[in-house]
C-alpha cells in the first residue's frame, strides 16, 4: 500500500482546479456571510390581507424580508421568544406560526382552532398560549415544537363555551383571561402543564379586552356591556375582583362603537392609567393607587389604542372607523391634546421604539408604514406595505403583558 507512488495530476489540470477554487472562495467572501447580528432591533409588520409578515429592523428602518404563508391575518397578534429570535404569530383562522427572524422563514406552524384572537408566552418562554373564540378557550403549546400541551375550554356550568379575550401572562406559567359571554375572569396555572389548574373570578358584562399592569400586579378588563371596568389585584387574589369607574358613561346614550378598543400595559404611565372610554369620545384617566377617575380627556372620536410613550410623557391615541385617519397626542403633564395628526388613511396600529423616540404607524388604506419622530411629530421615514395592521418589535419580549 505505502509502496505505491501517488500519481499527481498534470500541472495544467492543477492550474485550472486551483484557480477555480480561488475564484469560488473569493465569490464566497464577496457575498456577506449569513450575517451575524442581534435581534434587539428586529420586528414584524402584519400584512393582513395577504397572510404575510414583513421582517423589519429599526436601526436603518428597513424591510429585511417578507415571509408568506401565515393564513388569515385579519386580526393577528404577535409575541416573541425570550431571545427575540422567534415571533409567534396568532392568526384569525386559528393558525399559530413561529417565524424565525434571523433566518427569515417559517420555523413551525399549526392550525389550532377555528377562530382565534391572540396569544401570550410564559415568563420562562417555555409555553405559548393561544386564546380562541371558536371553540372558546385557551390552548398551551410547547414553544420549541408547537406541540399541544394542554387544552382548557372556557366552559361554564350550563355547558356553553365563551369567547376568550384579554389573555395576559402572569408569573409562574400562569395566564389570566376573560370570557366574553360568561363575563368571568379566569387564571390558569400551567406549572404542571399536563394538569392545568384554573381559578375563577367575577368579571362583568361583555369584557372585550384587558391588560395586566407593567409590574404584573393589576389586571383590568374593559367591559362593553356595562359602564365600568373590572379590576383584580393579583397580589391580593383572595380579595377577588372589583369594579372601577362604574357609571363613567353618566347614563348618557353611548355613541356607536365601530371598532372595539384594545388594552395593554401601554395604557399605564407613571401612576396614571389612560383608558379608552366605550361609546364616548374620551380617554379616561385613573389614579393607579386609588383607582378613582382623576380626569377625562376629550378626543376626536372613539379611541381604539391609547398608548403611553415608554417614558410616560405622552399618550398617542388612534380612532375607530370612520375617523381612523387621525391620531392625537395627549401631554400627560398638562392633560391636554397637544397634537392632532393625519399620518395616513386607516391607521390601525402604532408601536414605539423601546425608548420612545420613534413611533411606527400602519396606514392600511395607503398601503404603507409611516415612521414619526415623537419629539418633532414629523414623519422621518416609512416604506410600502400591503394593507399593514399590527407592528410588533422584539423589545416586547422583555415586557410582562406583551
Amino acid at each position: 500500500m505505502s509502496s505505491q507512488t501517488v500519481r499527481l495530476a498534470p500541472p495544467a489540470l492543477w492550474g485550472v482546479v486551483l484557480s477555480a477554487i480561488v475564484f469560488l472562495l473569493s465569490a464566497c467572501s464577496s457575498t456577506p456571510p449569513a450575517a451575524l447580528r442581534g435581534t434587539g432591533d428586529l420586528g414584524v409588520v402584519i400584512e393582513r390581507a395577504d397572510g404575510k409578515v414583513k421582517v423589519i429592523e429599526t436601526t436603518g428602518r428597513s424591510v429585511l424580508a417578507t415571509v408568506d404563508g401565515l393564513g388569515d391575518l385579519s386580526h393577528a397578534s404577535v409575541v416573541f421568544s425570550r431571545d427575540g429570535r422567534h415571533a409567534f404569530v396568532f392568526g384569525r383562522d386559528g393558525g399559530l406560526t413561529k417565524v424565525d427572524l434571523l433566518e427569515r422563514r417559517i420555523a413551525g406552524r399549526v392550525v389550532q382552532a377555528g377562530n382565534a384572537i391572540g396569544g401570550s408566552i410564559s415568563h420562562d418562554g417555555s409555553l405559548v398560549v393561544a386564546q380562541n373564540y371558536e371553540p372558546g378557550g385557551i390552548k398551551a403549546f410547547d414553544a420549541n415544537t408547537l406541540e399541544l400541551v394542554a387544552d382548557v375550554p372556557a366552559t361554564t356550568e350550563d355547558g356553553t363555551r365563551s369567547k376568550v379575550v384579554g389573555l395576559a401572562d402572569l408569573s409562574g406559567r400562569r395566564f389570566i383571561y376573560s370570557l366574553f359571554e360568561a363575563g368571568e375572569i379566569r387564571i390558569t396555572d400551567f406549572s404542571d402543564p399536563k394538569n392545568p389548574v384554573t381559578q375563577r373570578f367575577a368579571g362583568g358584562k361583555q369584557p372585550y379586552d384587558a391588560l395586566v399592569s407593567p409590574n404584573g400586579r393589576y389586571y383590568i378588563a374593559g367591559l362593553f356591556g356595562e359602564d365600568g371596568l373590572a379590576l383584580i389585584d393579583l397580589w391580593n387574589l383572595d380579595k377577588g375582583s372589583r369594579k372601577i369607574l362604574s357609571g363613567y358613561g353618566r347614563g348618557e346614550q353611548p355613541l356607536p362603537v365601530f371598532k372595539m378598543p384594545h388594552l395593554r400595559g401601554w395604557s399605564i404611565a407613571g401612576n396614571r392609567a389612560y383608558l379608552p372610554a366605550i361609546g364616548r369620545h374620551e380617554v379616561l384617566v385613573v389614579d393607579t393607587d386609588t383607582w378613582q377617575e382623576v380626569d377625562r380627556i376629550k378626543v376626536r372620536s372613539q379611541p381604539v389604542f391609547a398608548m403611553a410613550r415608554p417614558d410616560g410623557r405622552e399618550i398617542w391615541v388612534n380612532f375607530a372607523f370612520p375617523d381612523n385617519g387621525w391620531v392625537q397626542v395627549i401631554d400627560t403633564v398638562s392633560g391636554e391634546v397637544t397634537d392632532t395628526l393625519q399620518p395616513g388613511r386607516g391607521i390601525l396600529h402604532m408601536e414605539f421604539l423601546s425608548k420612545g423616540h420613534e413611533i411606527w404607524l400602519s396606514a392600511r388604506d395607503d398601503n404603507k408604514v409611516v415612521i414619526y419622530d415623537t419629539a418633532t411629530k414629523k414623519p422621518i421615514g416609512g416604506f410600502d406595505s400591503a394593507s399593514p395592521s399590527g407592528i410588533f418589535f422584539t423589545t416586547r419580549a422583555a415586557r410582562t403583558g406583551f
Binding site: 385579519s74 373564540y133 372595539m260 388613511r345 388604506d365
Partner: protein, 131 residues
C-alpha cells in the same frame, strides 16, 4: 425552493387567468337588478365591509367577535332583518348602527352582495395627496 422558470411562468399565467375570471365574475355580480351604487361608491362599500366590518366579522367574513357573514351563514336569514341590523345595530350586542355611514339602499345592496358571496376588496383609490 426556487421554482424552475417554466413552472413559474405557467403558474403566473394560470394565476392571471383565475384572477381575471374572478374579476369578471364579481363584475357580473355587481350589476344588480335594482340600481346599485356608483362604481366608486361600490368599491368603497366593499372596502368598508371587508376591512371595517371585518374587524369584528373577519376579513374573510367567517366571523370573529361578530357572527359569520358568508353566503352560507346568511342563507336562512331574511334580508329585511339584515338591512335593519346594519342600519339600526343590534342593541345589547357590540353591533353598532351604521345609519351615519351607509344609506338604507346601500345597506340593501350590501346584504344582496353578502348573500351572493361578497366581492373581494380592491382597496381604496389612491389618495389625492399624501402627507
Amino acid at each position: 425552493m426556487k421554482l424552475p422558470p417554466l413552472v413559474a411562468h405557467v403558474a403566473l399565467l394560470i394565476g392571471a387567468a383565475v384572477v381575471s375570471a374572478l374579476a369578471s365574475a364579481s363584475e357580473a355580480r355587481s350589476v344588480a337588478p335594482q340600481a346599485g351604487p356608483q362604481p366608486e361608491r361600490a368599491r368603497e362599500l366593499v372596502h368598508i365591509v371587508r376591512q371595517d366590518c371585518g374587524s369584528c366579522h373577519g376579513l374573510t367574513l367567517k366571523g370573529g367577535l361578530g357572527p359569520a357573514l358568508t353566503a352560507e351563514a346568511l342563507a336562512e336569514k331574511p334580508a329585511e332583518g339584515l338591512v335593519a341590523t346594519i342600519i339600526g345595530g343590534r342593541p345589547g350586542t357590540p353591533m353598532p348602527p351604521f345609519a351615519t355611514i351607509v344609506s338604507e339602499a346601500e345597506a340593501q345592496w350590501i346584504v344582496d352582495q353578502l348573500m351572493r358571496g361578497f366581492p373581494s376588496d380592491a382597496g381604496l383609490p389612491q389618495a389625492r395627496h399624501t402627507p
